[in-house]
Each structure stands twice: as structure tokens, then as C-alpha cells.
Amino acid sequence: MAGSYIDFSQVDFRYDAGLGPPNWILKGLDLGIDRGEFYVLLGPSGCGKTTALNLLAGFEHVHGGSLAVGGRPVTAPGVDRVVIFQGDDSLYGWLTAQENVEFGLKLAGVPAADRRRKAQQQLDFVGLGKQGHKFPSQLSGGMKQRIQIARALVCESPILLMDEPFAALDAQTRAILQDELTTIQQRTASTVLFITHDIGEAIILADRVGIMRSGPGSALKEEIEIALPRPRRRGDPAFGALYDRIHAILSEEVTRVLRREQASQ
């Protein structure tokens, strides 16, 4: 959407398969995210949500259309668009939690004392103030995700990209982290692109939910504003209505995927 802070405009993307026909993941994707907005991307598997995030992160390049942030095209990864990955395999096992959080600052050449102070601040913020000396292998899944969040926050990046960060966690931890994330985002006013499979999670977190079509060559199907006041609770009737609505749209796409698979047999 032209004019938005984050602007996907007719974005095409495919994977190079070498021999054989091209494998279009995204075709004509139009997506706009406003500054300070919490945008959740929802969709069936293989619909290209992770690809959209990777494009915004700068890990891949668009084949068609344009992708810009604040008017400037995205060309490479940068500290202004920090990623929080799914799972824990992006943390560095040979560094303590504190050193992991400091990593971005160390790369930027921030002096050690400042680094330590800022990292400790963020660790306190995410509730790991006393665990800074521990190694990732000594910490639980939820704590490891918090380290990632702290690592991203300490860089004070305006945009946070989160690829199903809570998928590998148990339900209780997920609920706690969802609340924490909402608090953090309200406080820092950062722009967030959050990917998930979980409709409930989407409604709890998002200002706006974008539902993608099934692949290949997918784009946005529909967007839904979530105007509920925060904090949001699942028991709320408004929550239930939204859930059903999104569920209906989503299952259309899921059925379409299955129908296509069965047809090609």
C-alpha cells in the first residue's frame, strides 16, 4: 500500500528451482503497515508468510514490485529491522544470556560498560535480570525466546519482525509472553510484523490481521481491524465473534489447498 511506513507494492517472489518451471511463492502482494502498528500475518502453510518476512528482513530480494520502509527500498538486513526467529537456534550457545543480548551492541562498537548496562536493563525488562550469566542450554524455551526479545529490544530498532516466535512453547508460557509482548510494544511504540498460525494469538496481539491466500503465488486475501481494547481476554464475546469470522476466511483457503492437492492426484 503506497504511502504506508512499510510498503509492499505488487511484490513477486519465486525460488530458483534450476531446471523446471519457476516456483512462485508470492505474486502481486500488496501490504501496508503503519508506523507503530502491530500487524499479524495469518495464513495456511506454504502461503508465503515467512517469505514476506524474510523479504522485509532483507534476507531475500524481490523479483518484481517494490518493498520500501519509510520510502527507502529494502536492500539488505539491518538493525532497523531486527528479527526474532522461531525456535532457539539463532542464539549463540557459547555466549551467556547477557553476552547474547549484548551482541548487537558489540558489533556496533559500543564500549563494554555501556553494553553491559544496557543489556542488563533489557534482561530486567524481560524478567531475566538474574539469569544473565547462564548459557542458553541451561535455560528453558520461554527464557530463550525472552533472550531473543531482549537482544532485539536493546538495539532499539523501530521495526520488529517475529516469525512464529512462540510456536515451540507450551501454552502457559505462550500466554505469558503474549501479554509481555503487548506491554513492550505499547511502551516502545515499535512497528511489529508478527507471523502465526494461531488465530487466538493473532486476535490477542494485533491491531490489524492480514489473512493470506493459499499458495503458490499468493497475496493478501483480506484484512481485519482488531479494535478491541487491551488487555484482551479470550472469554470476551467480541473475541469469539472475531475468531469465528477469521476462522471462516482462513478455512476457505485451507480447503482450497486440499482441493488442489486432491485434484492433482
Binding site: D198, V254, Q265
Partner: protein, 282 residues
């Protein structure tokens, strides 16, 4: 209320089936994969061949450093004389026999040591000492005990194989998920049944990995043994050619070793994969 689009798809998909579309795509992927592999090997071989040729031309001493052409010619000669095949077969025979016996003994011993605390405790110090002695160090002993014939070389290969397979098998027993054994106990299995029906198949991957490593060891040992004390075999071909300054024969021998070794390894991987598919549940 935490349904996911994935769960929806999965349950619906369970009603459907795979179908020929999936296999067609899989076959295409396989073909593409093998084509890419063949291309890489071809490019690598061409690049090395070129570098070799350039190097030998710069070195300019066909005796000290023959180029690929001269080596190929020599290979043809040796094949026509029947010498190359004979040497390959001699070495292979020693390896196969030694490897088979060593693997069997090593696997059984390793499984036993892995399953029984008593046996492990008893033999661990001895195993941990003897496994560090290079097999070839025993060549003199082997020749005194077994004479100058095949037995001495094969005994060394057995030695080389046993310890590697033993260690791997021992670890394999430990790697069998305890719940599998517990489940068997709940169902009333005796110790013997547990060993043969749960531990053995479970540890199989590790045994096979150990055997694969031991195969390389066996090659190393047979070459060394043949260099020191044999009148035939690839190691003999390589070392003996030094006397006549036939460096091209040396290169032929080394290349033959590489090819035979690579093929043996690939064959082993193929066999173990088919075996695992029958027994594996992962």
C-alpha cells in the same frame, strides 16, 4: 480455543492420500539431485585433472611427477597385464574377510559391553588401552604367529575393525530410548527377549555407523600391511613401484585405492540404508 490453520489442514488431509502427483514431483527432484551431483564430480575431476596436468608440465619430470595422460596410459598397461585387477582383488579379499569377522566380533562385544555393567567394567581398561595401538604395530607379531601368508594381514584388519565397531555398538546400546525397554518390560519381556528384540534393532544405526568408519580404517590398515610385508595388493603395488621409480604406477595404485574405497563406502551406505529401512522406525 487455540485451533490453528495447520490443524484444520492436517485433519482434512488425513482423509485424502498421497497420489501420483507427489511421486512425480519426488522423482523429478531425485533426477535433478543426481544430475547436480554428477555435474559436481565431473567439474571437480576436470579441475583436478587440469591442475595436475599443469603442475606436471611445470615440474617437467615424467619420472618424478607424471601427468594424467602418462598415468592413464600406465593404468591401461597394468590392466592389460592383469596386474591391476589382481592387486585390487587381493586387497579387497583381505579387507572383506577381515572386515566381516571384525565387525561381527566387535558388534557382539560392543553390544554385550553396552548391555551388561559387569562385562563393561571388566573389559573397559583393556579395550581403552589396546584400541590406541595402531594395528600395523602388531605386524611383526602377526607374522610370527600366523606366518607370512594372508592370515597375518587379515588378523590386522580384524584388529583394526573390532575396536571401532565395538565402541560404536556400545554407545548404540546406551542410545536406545529407555522408554522402549520399559515398554517391553511392561509387556513381560525377558532380558534375553529385550536384548534381541529391542536393544539390537535399536542400536543398529550405531553399529552400522561404526562399521562404516571401520571400513576406512580397514583400508588404511591393509595398505600399510601390504606396504610392509606383502607381494601383492594395492599397497604393495604402490610401495614396490618406488624401487623401479615407476611413479606412474604409484599414482595408478593411489587412484585405484581412492576409487575402490569410495565405491566400497557408497555400497556400504546403500546396503545399510536398505537394512535400516526394514528395521527402522524413526
Amino acid at each position: 480455543m487455540t485451533s490453528s490453520s495447520d490443524a484444520m489442514a492436517a485433519t482434512a488431509r488425513a482423509a485424502g492420500s498421497g497420489g501420483p502427483a507427489r511421486t512425480r514431483a519426488a522423482v523429478l527432484k531425485r533426477v535433478r539431485g543426481t544430475a547436480s551431483l554428477v555435474l559436481r564430480y565431473a567439474v571437480a575431476a576436470a579441475a583436478i585433472g587440469l591442475a595436475w596436468e599443469l603442475f606436471s608440465v611445470r615440474f617437467d619430470s615424467p619420472v618424478l611427477f607424471p601427468g594424467p595422460a602418462k598415468t592413464a596410459a600406465r593404468a591401461v598397461e597394468l590392466i592389460e597385464e592383469g596386474r591391476l585387477q589382481a592387486d585390487i582383488l587381493v586387497s579387497l579379499r583381505r579387507i572383506v574377510i577381515g572386515f566381516a569377522v571384525g565387525s561381527l566380533v566387535g558388534a557382539l562385544a560392543g553390544l554385550a559391553m553396552g548391555s551388561s555393567r559387569l562385562i563393561a567394567d571388566l573389559f573397559r581398561p583393556l579395550v581403552n588401552f589396546f584400541r590406541f595401538i595402531a594395528p600395523t604395530a602388531w605386524i611383526a607379531t602377526a607374522m610370527v604367529w600366523f606366518g607370512l601368508g594372508e592370515a597375518s594381514k587379515i588378523s590386522l584388519i580384524i584388529y583394526a575393525t573390532v575396536f571401532v565397531v565395538l565402541l560404536s555398538s556400545m554407545i548404540g546400546v546406551g542410545a536406545v530410548a529407555p522408554n522402549k525397554i520399559r515398554a517391553a518390560r511392561c509387556l513381560g519381556a525377558t532380558d534375553r527377549q529385550i536384548f534381541f528384540l529391542v536393544t539390537l534393532p535399536g542400536a543398529l544405526t550405531y553399529v552400522l555407523t561404526g562399521m562404516r568408519m571401520a571400513l576406512m580404517n580397514a583400508f588404511m590398515t591393509v595398505v600399510a600391511a601390504e606396504m610392509i610385508a606383502a607381494e601383492a595388493g594395492l599397497g604393495f603395488l604402490i610401495y614396490n613401484s618406488r624401487q623401479w621409480m615407476e611413479t606412474d604406477s604409484i599414482f595408478v595404485g593411489m587412484l585405484a585405492l581412492g576409487i575402490v574405497g569410495l565405491m566400497a563406502d557408497r555400497l556400504f551406505v546403500l546396503v545399510s540404508r536398505t537394512l535400516l529401512r526394514r528395521f527402522s522406525f524413526h
